[in-house]
Symmetry: C2
């Protein structure tokens, strides 16, 4: 049958999206392991066992790749925080933050989340940096506002919401630095234990 020999436009589009993600993922790993300045597009091509021109079929430049990797990491945090912030119902601020912080811990063990923390937007040109920082600020504000909700409903003890949000972000982001995918601890165990250190210290 022809279907097995010639792909439909939809199949080609899906395949292209998959290949582009594979390029970004390989680059995110390389940036996290070797640093942005220590990684060439040849390194990324080598990891995928393709040629450098093949890479350029999916991305424009090394800057373009990092921008996308950081954006994908931030979009995971943005979606997770938007979902928890929008939640109605009776959950306290602290309960909702517990869910969100647990998700945060998982995200920073993944390729794009790890690249977001270990490399971030700093090496990018001003325009890209500005755009990503705007997204970052929105996420930061959402975390802070959930802390404020928790203080208001009594589930979190009175404290400086900005400092608590930063302390939690630091404890969780640090996971990206020490997490070893081949090590004995699963992302789940790490998330549970790290979140418990934060949560147990701030109950109202």
């Amino acid at each position: 049958m022809s279907a097995s020999l010639w792909k439909t436009p939809q199949q080609r589009k899906a395949e292209r999206a998959l290949k582009r993600e594979a390029v970004l993922r390989a680059a995110a790993r390389a940036f996290s392991e070797q640093g942005f300045h220590g990684t060439s597009l040849d390194d990324v091509a080598d990891r995928l066992k393709v040629s450098k021109p093949t890479i350029y079929h999916y991305v424009r430049s090394k800057d373009d790749i990092l921008c996308e990797c950081v954006r994908l990491g931030l979009e995971r945090l943005d979606a997770a925080s938007a979902a928890v912030a929008a939640e109605g119902g009776v959950a306290t601020g602290l309960d909702r933050l517990t869910v969100l912080w647990t998700e945060y811990a998982h995200i920073v063990t993944e390729d794009f989340g790890r690249c977001l923390i270990l490399v971030g937007e700093d090496p990018l040109p001003p325009a890209a940096r500005k755009e990503l920082r705007t997204l970052k600020s929105r996420i930061d504000r959402r975390f802070r506002s959930l802390v404020e909700t928790g203080i208001a409903d009594g589930s979190i003890r009175p404290c400086d919401p900005r400092m608590l949000a930063f302390a939690a972000a630091g404890a969780l982001s640090w996971i990206a630095r020490w997490y070893d995918p081949d090590g004995p601890l699963s992302p789940d165990q790490i998330a549970r234990e790290t979140v418990s250190f934060i949560v147990d210290g701030i109950r109202g």
Copy 2:
């Protein structure tokens, strides 16, 4: 008197040390604000209002400067942790960690501590990187062993000492990312509040 016109060798030596530290401090600030790759020795010279050749009178290269800045940051942590670890007396593990974590928070608001966290040894050639990582591991082990002491004496609840040491290091190191010397919060307030988030969650 001749003493006011010609300096003694001791005075010359002291002055040289002061000037070298000024070079390192200006570089540490530039690296933290602009990134290592975004900083040239011309930038450092500009900050000190001297010429680049003057800088070379005190340091060999940009790598040499970063290596010294990171070492100075690590030496502050090393000295603080060694002092607390060596302490005899009746203080519990948690009390000793409270002192040490508070000191840690102060160190990462200072020029060399900030550079240690924000830039670190990653951009350096393998030999320098290895040397600094050895020092880092020694400090890490000391933190972990104090957590173990606290669990053993009952002042810290049973938990994974490695994960607790990392969570605390993350919450505290993150201060280097958001602390603003011109902002309303003093290092002292930041240290007290951040350490309380950690300590209150782990009591035995």
